[in-house]
């Protein structure tokens, strides 16, 4: 469960990076993103990815850094597959990772305290 938190943060980050692009946003929501929406998406993306890096390195230093790179690789692959082949399922996918994020944050919070 603990490993799921930094990984889900990575997934969200790449998801937001993808959505911040005009063509992918249009595929999912059928309208162009406004400048404000893009800004929000990009900030969320950067914050999640940096948080993910921080969590990984905090847990296991050098090994954690490598894990973070691995998470980035896997997340980028998953997002790539969704946006190229399974565009219609993207909304469901986004919901799923938000749920996983919420659960793992809860777990992390409960264990950390």
């Amino acid at each position: 469960m603990i490993t799921l938190l930094p990984f889900s943060l990575c997934l969200i980050a790449f998801n937001c990076f993808a959505l911040a692009k005009y063509n992918h946003f249009k595929d999912v929501f059928n309208k162009r993103p406004t400048q404000q929406q893009r800004l929000i998406l990009l900030s969320v993306a950067w914050i999640s990815i940096l948080l993910s890096l921080l969590l990984c390195v905090n847990q296991l230093q050098g090994y954690g850094g490598l894990q973070f790179c691995g998470y980035m690789t896997l997340s980028a692959l998953i997002v790539m597959i969704f946006y190229s082949f399974l565009v219609r399922l993207t909304k469901l996918f986004n919901l799923l990772i938000l749920v996983i994020l919420a659960m793992s944050t809860l777990f992390f919070g409960l264990n950390g305290l």
């Binding site: 490993t3 990076f17 993808a18 692009k21 063509n23 992918h24 296991l60 050098g62 090994y63 490598l66 894990q67 790179c69 691995g70 998470y71 980035m72 690789t73 896997l74 980028a76 692959l77 997002v79 790539m80 946006y83 190229s84 082949f85």
Partner: protein
């Protein structure tokens, strides 16, 4: 300047890539398999398939070492070297070995090894002579059938070209962020380019890391100059500083009783409680020059040189050890080296390393294919293909379809060769290379879509047959592995089934492509009539 830099980098990327892409595919292919070297060696060795998981692996080590020393003392009290290799997470058996006297011309003494089941402490059924995962590990930097030093120089320069290709690739991929998740299917060479870009970008940290660190593992062969500049005695002087050794009593003469292992182990556990001991090496046992070296697993730390304690074998005094705290430079060097082999990786990270390796293979394969397609497009209509195009297409078919087939042949040979055959390990390797050669011969004769389709079908059959032959020739099978939690073996068989399926999909795609071409050809013939 930017415009022409871009053009020169494009030119550099394609040329540097073309010169070595097939060798790099071999290196990446064998290297990716090597991440699961221990699992492959396990699969290759049916005698150790059914060893149960130890309930307290680390706790049992003390007794295993003490028993080992007693055993070796009884078996070979005057051997020059004893070696006790304890079971690890991925290597389930215990080995007690002693060195046989060196034969003339041998660089290193060979060992007489007794392998035991650590749960029952009973000898295991005799091992089959096979290189297992070590074949792929050595293949990816020592190559095979050529002198090791030459092979390593070639691999070093190929890896340097890979690094240059990566850097130039990043420079020329202007739309690296725009196109990051874009894949356009069924658009011919545009799709190939998309796959090439995607497989390079999504695993870019991995590719840069593995290439850079790969060269670093061979750096002292490539650049011995700093060592020779700083140390008058050259490499010997450097290694004396770099690796701990026993200078105190290793030249002593005469016999002496070996200190009891308990004294040694108490010191080890005082220093490192809960130490996970990998190996105990005793040189010159029962002599005054006895040295005992205890190697402890570094766990998840990014260490390349296994942490060790070196004791005087007669008095039990601690003589030397690896540094507890590494200096910045040492930490840098050790991290770089350890990152390449990834020996510290637990299953999750190891799986991610494997994923990166596969991405690398896809990146190189699509690069090779795009080159062939580009050459073919530039070819004028109704002319014969140039020898350059024939060479590129032939090498593509031979390498991209030949290597997987050769791998399946290697594992089939492991199961099908009789146990008593002489030089069995070399024969398995010969099966690998002969199969590869056959594919090259086919590619030499003809290399159209039909040949690709046929090779894909053969590959599919070969991949499917590996788990089947396994079930027929050993006690277990894939379903049993799942039920008994034998995960390594289950994953191995499953991966072969998965690749069999992927090759089947490729066969289908190529077959429909061929049929469409045939139909178009027939309809244009009809129109002419």
């Amino acid at each position: 300047m930017k415009g022409s830099f871009f053009r020169s980098m494009t030119w550099l990327h394609t040329w540097v890539g073309l010169l070595v892409c097939w060798l790099l595919y071999l290196i990446f292919f064998a290297g990716t398999i090597s991440f699961f070297r221990d699992e492959v060696s396990l699969w290759n060795q049916p005698s150790i398939h059914n060893i149960e998981q130890q309930t307290d692996r680390i706790g049992a080590q003390k007794q295993q070492i003490i028993t080992g020393v007693e055993y070796l003392n009884a078996q070979a009290p005057n051997a020059p070297n004893w070696r006790i290799t304890l079971p690890e997470e991925r290597i389930p058996y215990l080995t007690y070995g002693f060195a046989k006297p060196k034969e003339p011309g041998q660089r290193r003494a060979s060992f007489n090894n007794s392998r035991l089941d650590p749960n029952t402490m009973q000898p295991l059924p005799p091992f089959v002579d096979t290189r297992g995962g070590n074949f792929f590990y050595r293949l990816h930097f020592d190559l095979h059938y050529i002198d090791v030093k030459t092979a390593r120089w070639i691999v070093c320069f190929a890896s340097l070209f890979m690094l240059i290709a990566l850097i130039s690739g990043i420079v020329i991929h202007k739309r690296i962020f725009k196109d990051m998740f874009v894949f356009r299917a069924n658009k011919g060479s545009r799709s190939w380019l998309d796959v090439h870009n995607l497989s390079s970008v999504f695993a870019l940290p991995f590719h840069l890391m593995i290439t850079y660190t790969g060269i670093i593992t061979l750096i002292f062969m490539l650049f011995p100059h700093p060592v020779n500049t700083v140390y008058e005695e050259g490499m010997t002087g450097f290694f004396k500083d770099f690796s701990p050794s026993n200078p105190i009593n290793n030249k002593a003469k005469g016999e002496a009783e070996l200190v009891p292992m308990k004294t040694i182990l108490d010191q080890v556990y005082t220093k490192w409680p809960n130490a996970d001991i990998n190996r105990v090496m005793i040189s010159n046992p029962n002599k005054a020059a006895a040295t005992i070296m205890v190697l402890v697993s570094p766990g998840k730390a990014l260490r390349d040189q296994t942490p060790r304690l070196i004791f005087n074998g007669v008095t039990g005094e601690l003589i030397a050890q690896t540094d507890d705290e590494l200096t910045g430079s040492k930490a840098l060097y050790e991290s770089l080296n350890s990152m390449h082999t990834g020996r510290f990786a637990e299953p999750l990270l190891r799986g991610l390393y494997f994923l990166g390796g596969i991405a690398g293979c896809i990146m190189i394969a699509t690069g090779c294919i795009m080159w062939a397609k580009r050459l073919r497009e530039r070819m004028k209509k109704n002319t014969q293909p140039s020898w350059g195009l024939k060479l590129v297409e032939g090498l593509n078919l031979g390498t991209l379809m030949g290597l997987p087939l050769a791998t399946s042949a290697f594992f089939l040979a492991n199961r099908l060769l009789s146990k008593q055959v002489a030089e069995r390990a070399d024969k398995e390797i010969l099966a690998f290379f002969l199969t590869w050669l056959c594919v090259f011969i086919i590619a030499f004769v003809k290399r159209d879509k039909l040949q690709w389709c046929v090779m894909a079908a053969i590959n599919s059959i070969a991949c499917f047959s590996v788990p089947v032959v396994n079930a027929l020739t050993t006690e277990g099978n894939i379903i049993q592995y799942l039920r008994n939690d034998q995960w390594a073996l289950f994953m191995f068989d499953s991966l072969f089934l998965l690749f069999g399926l992927l090759f089947l999909l490729q066969t289908e795609k190529l077959r429909t492509g061929l049929q469409t071409k045939k139909r178009l050809h027939i309809s244009t013939q009809e129109q002419k009539i």
